[in-house]
């Protein structure tokens, strides 16, 4: 009995580390108050934000969340702790913004500070760690993701955070933001779709032709090593020349700057993961199974469709996952050459030294990438060709 108790009370090592970081983060400024959107603000620790009626519940939630995150044997407690802690920091953020702004001047801005971001990271890690130990099935993972996104939508939709500087940046450019979101998605998914349309047949050809494979894969991995800025540097004059020489291309919207070069760059970057994983996926069929298929009279096409593709699907989808997450991140660069997307805000913010405008571009990108990664992971798991072996 005793040993069981001891095991249950055992502390989780990552939990300890994260809790220590969390408590350290509490000492850092939780929010900053600045005279306007450009100047650096003054940092305020969590207990200086407002009266105890606001700070106390928040601090209690954060501290108890961090403590709940310690128990190695109870991943559910850790999950609840992380949720509680997140609720605590959102509470502090939402409840102290307007009191801080009061009397601080017309242009004053409040923003989350270093402490907030560190706590957010720590609590997310506690949550990820707890979810990993719970190893939920694909359906539960989708449900968890949906509830997180739902909560985020509620917090944003109800205007709880609308006094924050980043939300003010959003409020003043709502239409631009929505256009950027749409453009970002178009860039990321459109280039992935084109890369898939090219990469899958190319992967199949590479799989069947070792000679093509020996040329194509090194070329694609070379493309991958070109820094994105250099890639645009090549693309801009190249597409500019195409647009100038072929009026038809120009009419289709191809130009040296803007959407076309960004799209093309993303497409080139995503070819390697798509093609390489396609080849690896097809190769993953056991040699004996392939042999048996041929021995029973399957044609090359039947072998591909009935055996090699289904068996390689998880690896192939893992390639699409890499490409998609990479594209969502890289699409930010499009903002630099007028290609649109969330990158527009990032580069505007950099020019104006307006941190919150940078964040208005960066945070949705991160959220999008995370969501895509989780969804694709679930998809990879669902396509496992021998379902019961996995469970």
């Amino acid at each position: 009995m005793k040993s069981v108790r001891a095991a249950e009370l055992r502390l989780s090592l990552p939990g300890l580390l994260l809790a220590a970081l969390g408590f350290l983060a509490l000492l850092a400024p939780f929010m900053t108050l600045a005279a306007n959107r450009i100047v650096a603000g003054e940092g305020l620790t969590a207990w200086h934000l407002a009266g105890p009626d606001v700070t106390l519940p928040g601090l209690i939630a954060i501290v108890s969340g961090l403590i709940l995150g310690l128990f190695a044997a109870w991943p559910k407690a850790r999950l609840i702790g992380a949720t509680l802690g997140l609720a605590g920091i959102v509470w502090l953020l939402s409840q102290s913004a307007s009191p801080l702004l009061e009397g601080a001047g017309e242009y004053a801005r409040v923003s989350p500070g270093l402490g907030f971001w560190c706590l957010l990271a720590v609590l997310m890690l506690v949550m990820a760690d707890a979810i990993t130990s719970l190893s939920p099935g694909p359906r539960t993972r989708i449900a968890l993701l949906a509830s997180m996104l739902g909560l985020l939508a509620i917090v944003l939709g109800t205007g709880l955070l609308s006094d924050l500087s980043i939300m003010q940046e959003y409020a003043s450019r709502k239409d631009a933001f929505h256009a950027a979101a749409l453009r970002h998605l178009t860039l990321a998914f459109g280039s992935l779709a084109s890369a898939t349309a090219i990469g899958i047949p190319l992967g199949i050809l590479c799989y069947h032709g070792p000679r093509l494979r020996k040329i194509a894969l090194p070329v694609l991995s070379f493309l991958q090593t070109i820094p994105s800025l250099a890639m645009f540097g090549i693309m801009i004059p190249l597409l500019g020349w195409v647009a100038n020489s072929y009026p038809a291309a120009k009419a289709m919207g191809i130009a040296g700057v803007g959407f076309a070069p960004a799209f093309l760059a993303l497409l080139l970057y995503s070819l390697l993961p798509v093609v390489a994983n396609m080849v690896a996926g097809l190769q993953s069929t056991p040699e004996k199974a392939r042999d048996a298929a041929r021995g029973m009279g399957m044609t090359t096409w039947q072998l591909l469709m009935r055996v090699e593709l289904p068996l390689g699907l998880p690896v192939i989808l893992a390639g699409l996952r890499i490409a998609l997450v990479q594209n969502i991140g890289l699409a930010v660069i499009a903002g630099l050459i007028g290609g649109g997307g969330f990158g527009t805000f990032v580069f505007q913010g950099l020019n104006q030294t307006a941190t919150d405008l940078i964040l208005l571009g960066a945070l949705p990108t991160v959220a999008l990438a995370l969501t895509a990664a989780i969804l694709m992971d679930v998809l990879v798991e669902l396509t496992n060709p021998t379902p019961r072996k996995a469970s």
Binding site: A289, D291, A292, R294, G295, M296, T386, K389
Partner: protein, 311 residues
């Protein structure tokens, strides 16, 4: 009838199969036996063209295999690969139904056939039909592999060490079943093994291979009594040869008039088992019954006479 005509396979200067010629009669079991690396698998795979011969040709019922499209040739020939080669993402039922599906059988007909085959290999259909290969034991996987080769009732069956992973009891059972299937359907079977015991038990004819060459091709009795080379003699069992020889004949072959004391013997028992019973029970004569009716007796001396090698 399958005619293998001076067939050879060379891999980068290494000869895996060296000018092998043999004729396999329809509705017989031919067992190819040899040590590891002697070219058995290569020879077998040249028949369904999974390996293209470097020279020579194979004719099935007079038709040269290289004149037929590979896929349709292979769909006519059952093939049980060495080490099962089941599709990991298919259930047992879908694995067995692979060739019938390629041949566009109706689903109903396929389902019936799958259950029939599972029954035949002592695997309850209800229990095994929907499992994945990873959920089977090695022996079960191998039986499914053989069942898959039989699924479309091919006239010609190529089997590469189909019983390698089976324990002796299941193995004997499976060999008997294969015999039975072959007798009832009249199929032609070419089976590869490295186990001479299996070759002698199962084969109408035995082909012994050594370093890519066919060193002897004959009935099991010929292989044992007149081994063509030292190697064949060694393969045939050395000191165990008389016992192997006895295992080829039933008691009914040497039955004589008269009676004897003790537990009777069935006329279909092989002479090796009869000898064993003599030694174990200390008797020199055993009574024989045929389907329960007394049929005479068999003597230890007669058994001994059958076990003598050529002098």
């Amino acid at each position: 009838m399958i005619e293998i005509d001076k067939i050879s396979k060379t891999y980068d200067g290494v000869t895996a199969v060296d000018e092998v010629s043999m004729v396999v009669d329809t509705a017989t079991i031919t067992v190819i036996v040899g040590t590891s690396g002697s070219g058995k698998t290569t020879l077998l795979r040249m028949i369904n063209r999974l390996v293209e011969p470097s020279s020579g040709e194979v004719r099935i019922n007079g038709e040269a295999t290289h004149t037929v499209a590979k896929t349709s040739l292979r769909r006519r020939i059952g093939y049980a690969i060495q080490g099962h080669g089941l599709f990991p993402h298919y259930t047992v039922a879908r694995n067995i139904g692979t060739v019938p599906t390629l041949l566009d059988w109706s689903q109903e007909k396929i389902d019936t056939r799958v259950d029939e085959l599972l029954d035949l290999f002592s695997m309850q259909p209800d229990k095994f039909r929907d499992r994945y290969p990873a959920e089977l034991s090695g022996g079960q996987q191998q039986r499914v592999g053989v069942a898959r080769a039989l699924a479309s009732r091919p006239d010609l069956l190529l089997m590469d060490e189909p019983f390698g992973a089976l324990d002796p009891i299941i193995r004997a059972h499976a060999q008997k079943d294969l015999r039975h299937i072959q007798r009832t359907l009249g199929s032609t079977i070419m089976l590869v093994t490295h186990d001479m015991e299996e070759a002698i038990q199962l084969g109408d004819r035995v082909a012994v291979m050594d370093a890519g060459r066919l060193v002897q091709y004959g009935t099991p009795a010929e292989i044992i009594q007149q081994p063509a080379t030292e190697f064949v003699a060694k393969m045939a069992g050395g000191v165990e040869r008389p016992l192997r020889l006895l295992s080829l004949y039933p008691v009914s072959d040497i039955i004589e008039e008269g009676t004897a004391e003790g537990e009777p013997l069935d006329a279909n028992t092989c002479l090796r088992d009869a000898l064993s019973i003599c030694l174990w029970s200390g008797r020199d004569v055993l009574p024989v019954v045929n389907e329960g009716v007394p049929a005479g007796r068999v003597t230890l001396a007669a058994i001994r006479a059958r076990a003598e090698g050529p002098t």
